[in-house]
């Protein structure tokens, strides 16, 4: 019965899911214990259908390396070995961080055991509970144990999850509290009634005592995350998964004991997580920026103060279905800053209707001169961060760039011209006149008489 089910599910999957290639490459390294590899076969097949090439490695094996000669060997890395306490020499928190600087995307699995990855999670702003306290929920009433929790994501959860059906996502593992770092992208939150506690029933008094200890002593409620993403500012994405069983075959094939015939949402969830983390969905880039004076087309490296300037940005979004970058005009809150040490002008950059992907803004250069930058800095939860900075100089008008022939100066023009004309007439009469007569004194003439 089971193999048949698996085949049916695979067929449905192939039909339903479209194959998508990531925008940054499709080589994936999966770090998983050899014994557990078969538990995730549907997950791996799903990724192969999405177009990824998988390479497997045990956590203690030496090869293949993550980074060789300062170059990342794989575009993406998944660490499903969430219980391993000792990794091989090249898998360390530092090497994982340098992978993100090298634009490699990571999916890292946590568990209730303390592993090197648990301390790394704190660096990302996640606060894991004490070891040995998995997430427990008595809601909804079900036959499965309290550590196996169906989570139905709500509408206000992130845009990472693309499907909006009501299929529950089965989860078991460790939750984490979220810090207030805006780079965190919560993908799946814990249910309201859940909390972290010891497996064997735990004692209610211990719970109350740990809560009285201080804010971080108690993990409960929907402020906890179960699968959380992290978008770095240079583009790499890291997803922390509280329990890797959410990708396992068992949970993908699980039927709810309460609601007969309701499929688990784990397959779609795994697909969405992989699509977001491996740069398929919500990926933007700026294709080109240009700037010029209004009514001209040539950019200049020098503008005059109080010039009317126009700035255009062309933005596209990656479409995983046909693996192309397509112009994207749906950004409503893009802003442009004209900055010299501090923004002098900040204006909105609306989309131009008629040209897909083009965003344009007009403004007047300030009457300060100096070296300015056109800065586009767009960061939103879940989306790639867009950043572009173009430097131009703004200079005062040239000596012949000022307005001339102003009406306020007419009398001065008249004065200068009349001096010129007067000089000319004076010289004409002076040169032309009879010399001797005009030198005579009038008084003398009368006296002679």
């Amino acid at each position: 019965m089971f193999p048949l089910k698996k085949l049916i599910i695979l067929a449905v999957g192939l039909f339903g899911l479209t194959s998508a290639k990531s925008s940054t490459g499709n080589s994936v390294l999966v770090v998983v214990e050899a014994a557990q590899k078969d538990d995730f076969s549907i997950f791996f097949d799903g990724m192969r259908d999405q177009g990824y090439e998988l390479t497997f490695r045990g956590p203690k094996e030496e090869a293949p390396l993550l980074i060789e000669y300062d170059e990342p060997k794989f575009a993406h890395v998944i660490v499903l070995a969430s219980d391993t306490k000792n990794f091989a020499k090249d898998i360390t928190p530092q090497s994982l961080i340098s992978l993100t600087h090298l634009k490699t995307n990571l999916i890292l699995g946590l568990s209730t055991k303390q592993t090197p990855l648990t301390s790394l999670a704190s660096e990302f702003g996640l606060i894991p509970p004490p070891p040995g306290t998995p997430l427990i929920s008595y809601f909804p009433k079900r036959e499965e144990p309290s550590t196996l929790i169906p989570i139905t994501p709500k509408v206000q959860d992130s845009a990472v999850l693309q499907s909006r059906n009501n299929h529950p996502i089965w989860f078991s593992g460790s939750p984490h509290a979220l810090g207030n770092n805006p780079l965190l992208v919560p993908i799946l939150r814990a249910p309201v009634e859940s909390f972290a506690s010891e497996v064997d029933g735990g004692s209610p008094d211990a719970i109350v005592d740990s809560a009285d200890k201080g804010g971080e002593g108690f993990w409960a409620g929907s402020q906890l995350g179960v699968v959380t993403g992290f978008q770095t500012l240079d583009g790499a994405r890291v997803t922390w998964v509280g329990g890797v069983d959410v990708f396992s075959d068992e949970y993908i094939q699980k039927q709810s004991s309460k609601r007969r015939g309701v499929q688990s949402g784990n397959r779609q969830f795994a697909h969405d997580v992989v699509a977001w983390t491996f740069q398929e969905s919500l990926v933007l880039r700026i294709d080109k920026v240009e700037h010029h004076r209004v009514n001209t087309t040539e950019p200049r490296d020098q503008y005059t103060i109080k010039d009317q300037l126009e700035f255009n940005a062309y933005i596209s979004k990656f479409n995983p279905k046909n693996r192309k970058w397509e112009p994207f005009s749906a950004l409503k809150d893009l802003q442009l800053e004209f900055t010299m040490l501090d923004p002098h002008i900040r204006t909105s950059l609306p989309a131009v209707s008629g040209t897909p992907g083009k965003y344009s803004a007009n403004f007047r250069a300030p009457d300060r001169h100096g070296v300015f930058k056109f800065v586009v800095d767009y960061k939103r939860k879940g989306w790639t961060a867009l950043h572009s900075s173009t430097t131009v100089a703004v200079v005062p008008p040239r000596h012949d760039g000022y307005p001339r022939f102003l009406s306020a100066a007419w009398p001065y023009y008249a004065g200068a011209i009349s001096t010129s004309v007067g000089f000319f007439l004076f010289s004409a009469f002076w040169l032309a006149g009879e010399v001797r007569e005009s030198w005579k004194r009038p008084g003398k003439a009368s006296k002679i008489e």
Binding site: A408, G415, T419, G422, G443
Partner: protein, 120 residues
């Protein structure tokens, strides 16, 4: 005796009148020609200055150019007058009146060049 006594009355108006009569009688026409040009330049400069103070000094460069043209021309014309005055012949032995006029013309052209440059 009597006419002389009448002439020596020292009232202010008669001093001005005497001055004016002496000027009128004693100055050759050529010099009076120069003096009227000087007077014209002075009036022109005063009017431009009044406009600047009362109304607007906004294109300040235009004010400086216009006012400067009257003042500069006044200076050049005054120096021409003193050089061609026959009474000053002993002062300017090497400078003939023609040479003085040539200097005057060159100076005026250069002055007008700067004035139009600055006038804007």
């Amino acid at each position: 005796m009597a006419p002389r006594a009448a002439q020596i009355q020292p009232t202010a108006s008669s001093a001005v009148e005497t001055l004016w009569k002496a000027y009128n009688d004693g100055t050759p026409n050529r010099l009076k020609f120069i003096d009227s040009f000087l007077f014209f330049l002075m009036l022109s400069g005063i009017v431009q200055f009044v406009y600047c103070v009362l109304v607007s000094s906004f294109p300040y460069n235009a004010f400086l150019a216009g006012f400067g043209s009257t003042v500069g021309q006044f200076v050049l014309t005054a120096s021409l007058r003193s050089q061609v005055n026959p009474d000053n012949k002993d002062e300017f032995k090497e400078v003939s009146p023609e040479r003085a006029f040539a200097d005057f013309a060159l100076g005026s052209i250069v002055l007008h060049f700067f004035v139009y440059n600055f006038l804007g």
